[in-house]
Amino acid sequence: MKRFLIAILFITAAVMAMANGSDEETAKPIKLGGVWPLADITGEQASKAAQQAVEEINAAGGVLGRPLELIVIDSEFKPDKGAAALERLATVDKVDVFIGGMASSVHLGQIPTLKKYKKLTVWTGAASHLAEEAIGPDADWYFHLHPWDYNQGEGYVIGWNAISEKYPQIATERWFMAYEEGAFGSPSFDASVAMFSDMGTIDGDSFTSAAAGGGDYTAVLETAKAYKPDIFLWAGYAADALPLMEQSKAMGFAPPLYVGAPPGWPADFGASELAENVTLYGMWAPSISDISAVGKKFTDGYTEKYGALPATYFAPLGYTVVYVVAEAIERAGTLDTEALIKAMEETAYDSPLGETITFTPSNIIKHQGLRNQKILQWQNGRQEVIWPFEYQTAEPVYPFPGWDNR
C-alpha cells in the first residue's frame, strides 16, 4: 500500500510538472525585435506606437494564445550600431521577427546581417532604391512597408496631375525647388528634374541647411522670388522649416503654393501661424481619424497613452508593422519562417494610414507595401489630406495667402 501511494504521488507530481511546462510553453512570449533611431522623433514615436500595438494585442488575448513582447534597440542613426542591434536581437534576445527601420544609410549597413539570419523582416523605413538593390530579388523573407524613392516620385507626378485636373485654378506648370546641398537635397533635385518631363518646368538652387551650419536662405529665396514659380518646393531638414518660413515672410515671398518636403517636421511647426496653408508630403495626418476607424483607434490610443498627438507618419508605420506581423502569425498558426512568409503574402490590413496594406512586387523585391506619399496641407494648425482624393479630409486652400492678408 505504501509503495502504491508513493507511486501515485510520483505520477501526480510528474503530470503536474508536465502540465506546468506546457503552460510555460504556451505563455512564452513571441518576440519582436525592433531597431529605430530613438533620439530622433521618427524612431521615438515609431517604437512608442509599436509598443501601443503590442499592448492592444496582448489585452485582446495575444497571438496564438501567447503574448507579444517588443524589444527595441537604438540604431543611433549609425549603420554599424544598426547592424549590431540586429546581431544582439538575433543572438542574445533570440527574437522571432525583425521589425523597425528608419534611414537608408543605416539600413544599407544592416542588410548583410539581415541576410545572415533570414528571419521574417518587416521594415518601416529606408526609401533609397540602393537599399532595394542591396536586398536583391531573392530575399523572400523581406517585406518593405515604406515606399521606395522612385515610388514617391511617381506618386507626386500622379498626385499633382490629378490635383490640377480636379482644380483647374491650381497652376502646377512652373516649379522652383530650393534644396539643401547635401546627400538628401541634391539627389532629390536631380530626381525631380528627371521626372519633370511629365510635370512642366523646374528650376532650382541649393542652400546650406541649418543642420549643416547654414540657416540663411535669403539668397535662394531671392532667386525663387525672381523666378515667379507656380509652386515653390523646398527639400531640407526639420531645422530649416520655421526659419525658412520666417525669412520668406520677412522678404514678402508668398508663392501660389508653398510646399515643404523634409523627412520630418519640427513637433511644434503646426502651432506657428506661419505654417498655415503650407503644403507638404507625408503618409499620414491625424485628420485621417475623420475617415478611418483604425486611424481613429490608433490616434486616440496613442494620444491617451503618451499625452500628445503623434507628429510623424513613422508612428502609424510602427503601429502598422506590429499588427501586420501579429495577423500573419495568427494566420500561419506557427512561427516557422516559410509559413510566416506565406501568411504575410496574404496580408490585407486596414491600416491607420488610410490604405489597406498588401504586399506586391516592386522593381526588385517581391514584397512592397505602400507606394505613395500623400499630399497634405496645414489648415488651422492641422494637417489635412488633399490627395489621394479617396482619403481627402479637406479642400485645398489656394493660393497660399499673402503675408499681409493673414
Binding site: A39, D40, I41, E44, E181, D205, S206, F207, T208, A210, A211, A212, G213, G215, D216, T218, A219, V220, E222, T223, Y237, A238, A239, D240, A241, L242, P243, E246, Q247, K249, A250, M251, G252, P266, A267, D268, A271, S272, E273, L274, W403
Partner: protein
C-alpha cells in the same frame, strides 16, 4: 604708413560696398546681417583667445547650451527670449567659471595642444549631454518680431537680423571699454602680454583668467539667446560656429577685437555675393576659407601675428 594703408583700404572697401549696393542691394544688406551674426559670436572668442590666449573649441557649444537654456526659460515661464537670455547669461557666467576652475586652469602651463584636446572634449560632452536631456529634435521659438521687414523700391527685405550687427557693435564697444577703462580689463591685457610680469606686479593672474573666461562665456550666452530667435536649435548647432569664429579671430589677427568685425564684414558680404549667383551657393564656403588662408598667408609673409 600703416595708418595711411588702413585709411586707403577702408576707403576702397567703402566705395566697393556702395557700388555693390547699387548693383545688388540685397547682397550688401544680407552680407552685413551675416557679418553681424558671425562677429557677435566670434568677438567673445577673440577675447579669450586673443587677450588671455585660451584656445576654446567649446565656444559654439557654450552658445548652444545658452540657447537651450533661454529656450526652456522662455517656454516654461512664458518669457520673451530676449528677456530670458539675461538669466541664461548669468548662469553661463557661472558655468564658464566652473569649467575654468575644474578643467582649463589645470592646462594653462601645458602646451596649447592640451587645451585644444580638453576643450574639444568639453564640446563633445556638452553636445551629448544636451542630446540626452533635450533629444536631437530641432526646436524653434516662433516670435513675431523676427519677420519685421522693410521696402526700398522693389526690394523687400528682413530687418530683424540687423540686431546682430547692433549686438556685435555693443559687445565690441563694451569690451573695449572694459579692457581700457577698468582695472580688471587692464589686468587682463597685462596678463595676456606677460603673465609672469603681471604676477610680479601683484595681479592675481588666476583670478583674471577666470573672470575673462567667465565674461566671454556670459557674452556668448547672450548671443545664444539672440541666436535662438533666428535659427532652429539642436545639439550640434554650435559646432560650425566654433570653426567660423576661430577662423575669423585668426584672420583678424590674434588680439585685435575690432578687426574681427571687419573680417566678418568682408566674409559676410563675400558669401552673400557668391550665393546671389544661382548655382554657386556652395562656393560660399570655399570663398570663406580661401579668404582666410589668403589673409593669414599674406600676414605671415609680412611677419605679422
Amino acid at each position: 604708413m600703416k595708418k595711411r594703408l588702413i585709411i586707403t583700404g577702408g576707403a576702397v572697401a567703402l566705395v566697393l560696398l556702395i557700388l555693390l549696393f547699387l548693383w545688388k542691394p540685397t547682397v550688401v544688406i544680407y552680407g552685413v546681417q551675416r557679418a553681424g551674426l558671425y562677429s557677435a559670436i566670434a568677438i567673445p572668442m577673440g577675447l579669450v583667445l586673443g587677450i588671455v590666449h585660451i584656445v576654446n573649441l567649446a565656444h559654439g557649444e557654450l552658445m548652444m547650451v545658452s540657447a537651450y537654456l533661454t529656450y526652456f526659460l522662455a517656454t516654461k515661464l512664458g518669457m520673451d527670449p530676449l528677456l530670458a537670455l539675461i538669466p541664461a547669461a548669468v548662469v553661463l557666467f557661472g558655468f564658464g567659471i566652473l569649467i575654468y576652475r575644474l578643467t582649463i586652469s589645470h592646462t594653462l602651463k601645458a602646451p596649447e595642444l592640451n587645451q585644444l584636446i580638453l576643450t574639444f572634449g568639453i564640446a563633445i560632452v556638452l553636445v551629448q549631454a544636451v542630446n540626452l536631456i533635450a533629444t536631437s529634435q530641432p526646436r524653434k521659438l516662433s516670435v513675431d518680431y523676427v519677420t519685421a521687414s522693410a521696402k526700398m523700391g522693389e526690394v523687400h527685405f528682413g530687418i530683424y537680423d540687423f540686431v546682430f550687427v547692433a549686438l556685435a557693435v555693443a559687445i565690441l564697444l563694451g569690451l573695449q571699454w572694459f579692457l581700457k577703462k577698468t582695472k580688471t580689463g587692464r589686468a587682463a591685457l597685462a596678463v595676456g602680454q606677460n603673465p609672469k610680469g603681471a604676477q610680479l606686479v601683484g595681479i592675481n593672474v588666476d583670478r583674471t583668467y577666470m573672470l575673462v573666461f567667465g565674461i566671454a562665456t556670459a557674452l556668448v550666452g547672450v548671443v545664444g539667446g539672440f541666436f535662438l530667435t533666428k535659427q532652429s536649435l539642436f545639439p550640434a548647432v554650435g559646432g560650425p560656429f566654433t570653426m567660423k569664429s576661430f577662423a575669423l579671430v585668426a584672420m583678424a589677427g590674434i588680439g585685435n577685437l575690432p578687426a574681427i568685425f571687419f573680417a566678418a564684414l568682408g566674409l559676410g558680404v563675400a558669401e552673400a555675393f557668391i550665393s546671389s549667383f544661382q548655382g554657386y551657393g556652395g562656393w560660399a564656403h570655399i570663398v570663406f576659407f580661401a579668404l582666410i588662408i589668403a589673409v593669414i598667408l599674406i600676414r605671415s609673409f609680412r611677419g605679422g601675428k
